[in-house]
């Protein structure tokens, strides 16, 4: 296995991109990553996309997007793992470079979600849960996470205000991110007073419906100098784990066990522990998700996730900043792109390119991306090289 580095990243301004199609959004991000890396070719590419079929009626994305990129004959692979599709595409690109099979591999993710109405988008997202034994009964994704939240609140005393503080913190970070879909600041009170979606979760506890894409270029660490003058970011660990598909089959429904398992493997690979991290990008599809994710990653004790945002621990200026990009909550959540956009943020932070939201002297960073209610999780750890 070869050491692998990221030498270029690209993404676009996310949001409701009425003028842009699935293919143009993706191609734009991919071209930006190629330009950022300064490479003149790509040997293979991976596209994370949850549901081209349901959102835009388009599958066979590996071939279609390779064609759009003007890289015609290269292998193009579409990867799907619900909201973790991007993270998984990144991992497969990593594996292809690490294995020695290819030298320059594009990892990317895209979702164009606003060509369908809210009901159709809700349906498409719901396919990440068990259709016959969860969705059949009228549960939604906010509903599934709300059921996790209720147990977390009841067992650990997590409060509605603590949930809201996660949203307030991520919007504050997102207000410093020019690519964020919702860069406005919100207060915890505004979150708590927003309309109920699935009790106890309210509208501002939920990440939005977003169009967007992100991409990264991966190369073998020992060949970086052949391809670019950029400072490379080393991929120190890549781990993936799954859990039961249906939330009700879990032993503990107030924990993301797949993230805990992936994190355990990732820390071992990287040879570090949670205390060594400078910051994290985690999958805050809902406010409760960030709380459970930071517990699973060992950033806080189990049950202590609720207090983290409230106390300022996870703020940009805190001891363990979480989601400096604004997270899914403020930056947006084009499902297939999310996992790659986390890498975009981390690479820019480790290169010192994050302007007003720059975390000083960041060295180790972690990305956690999950699918469904945590039936799959990807954890990647990155290291700045000087």
């Amino acid at each position: 296995m070869r050491d692998v580095a990221v030498i270029g990243v690209g993404m676009n301004k996310w949001g409701e991109l009425w003028n842009d199609s699935h293919r143009t959004i993706w191609t734009d991000a991919a071209l930006k990553a190629i330009e950022d890396a300064g490479v003149d070719r790509v040997d293979s590419m991976y596209v994370g996309c949850m549901s081209g079929g349901l959102f835009v009626g388009q599958e066979h994305l590996g071939a279609m997007l390779a064609d759009q990129l003007g890289m015609g004959p290269i292998p193009g692979t579409r990867v799907e793992s619900a909201c973790a599709s991007g993270g998984l595409a990144f991992r497969l690109a990593y594996m292809e470079v690490a294995s020695g099979m290819s030298d320059i591999v594009l990892a990317s993710g895209v979702e164009k979600m606003t060509d369908v109405d809210g009901a159709a988008a809700t349906y498409a997202l719901s396919t990440a849960a068990d259709q016959e034994y969860e969705c059949f009964h009228g549960i939604t994704f906010p509903g599934l996470y709300a059921m996790m939240a209720r147990v977390h609140m009841s067992r650990y005393g997590t409060t509605q205000k603590q949930l809201a503080e996660v949203a307030a913190k991520n919007h504050a970070n997102g207000s410093l991110n020019p690519n964020a879909q919702f860069p406005m600041k919100v207060t915890a009170e505004q979150v708590m007073n927003s309309p109920a979606v699935a009790d106890p979760l309210r509208l501002l506890d939920c990440s939005p419906i977003t169009d967007g894409a992100a991409a990264a270029i991966l190369v073998p660490l020992d060949k970086v100098k052949e391809f670019t003058k950029n400072t490379p970011v080393r991929i120190a660990a890549s781990a993936h784990a799954t859990d039961t598909m249906a939330l009700h089959d879990r032993g503990d429904i107030a924990a993301i066990e797949s993230t805990a398992r992936a994190a355990e493997k990732a820390y071992a690979q990287a040879g570090i522990g949670p205390k060594d991290l400078s910051f994290c990008e985690v999958h805050d599809c809902f406010t409760i998700s960030e709380i459970m994710a930071i517990e699973a990653l060992g950033l806080v004790e189990k049950g202590q996730g609720g207090a983290a945002a409230e106390s300022g621990l996870t703020a940009l200026s805190g001891k363990m900043p979480v989601n400096p990009s604004g997270g899914l909550k403020s930056k947006g959540h084009p499902v297939g792109a999310t996992g790659v956009a986390q890498v975009y943020e981390i690479v820019n932070q480790l290169r010192g390119n994050s302007d007003k939201r720059q975390i000083k002297d960041a060295h180790w960073a972690l990305a956690q991306n999950m699918g469904g209610t945590g039936a799959s999780s990807l954890v990647h750890i990155f290291e700045r090289l000087s």
Binding site: Y133, C135, F136, D199, H248
Partner: protein, 130 residues
């Protein structure tokens, strides 16, 4: 739109609550599976689920998916049945503000959803406060 084949195939579970009990370790799977994740056994016998249980967690769906909008707000919960099996289902006929964790519930046969105005009707289990 679920359609006839998908709906019809699930009848033993949705109409009669038939689970698979592992012949090796007695773990109960709902719906039945082909291999036991606890002991690796591939033989199962049919066992009907317990029809009473407690509310392990729940939510009140305010923004409902298509097929459910005329019932919103409605409660969906994870019910831990008396045999230990957990299922996700609606908790019908309850005032959302009165529902609590640990509430005792029993199963009732209800229409769960339908394929629009002209498609087939999908029946199955919901729970009501016991």
């Amino acid at each position: 739109m679920i359609g006839s084949p998908r709906s019809w195939r699930e009848k033993p579970q949705r109409y009669r609550y038939e689970a698979g009990k592992c012949s090796g370790c007695s773990k109960i799977f709902f719906p039945p599976r082909l291999v036991c994740d606890a002991c690796g056994s591939k033989t199962f016998e049919t066992q009907v689920l317990a029809q009473t249980g407690v509310v392990e967690t729940f939510t009140i769906i305010e923004v409902a998916p298509s097929g459910f909008t005329d019932e919103a707000p409605y409660a969906v919960g994870i019910i831990k049945l008396d045999d230990g099996v957990k299922v996700t289902a609606q908790i019908a006929d309850c005032k959302p503000e009165e529902l609590k964790l640990g509430d005792k519930v029993r199963l009732e046969f209800r229409k769960v959803t339908e394929d629009g105005a002209s498609g087939i009707l999908h029946y199955g289990y919901k729970f009501v406060l016991a």
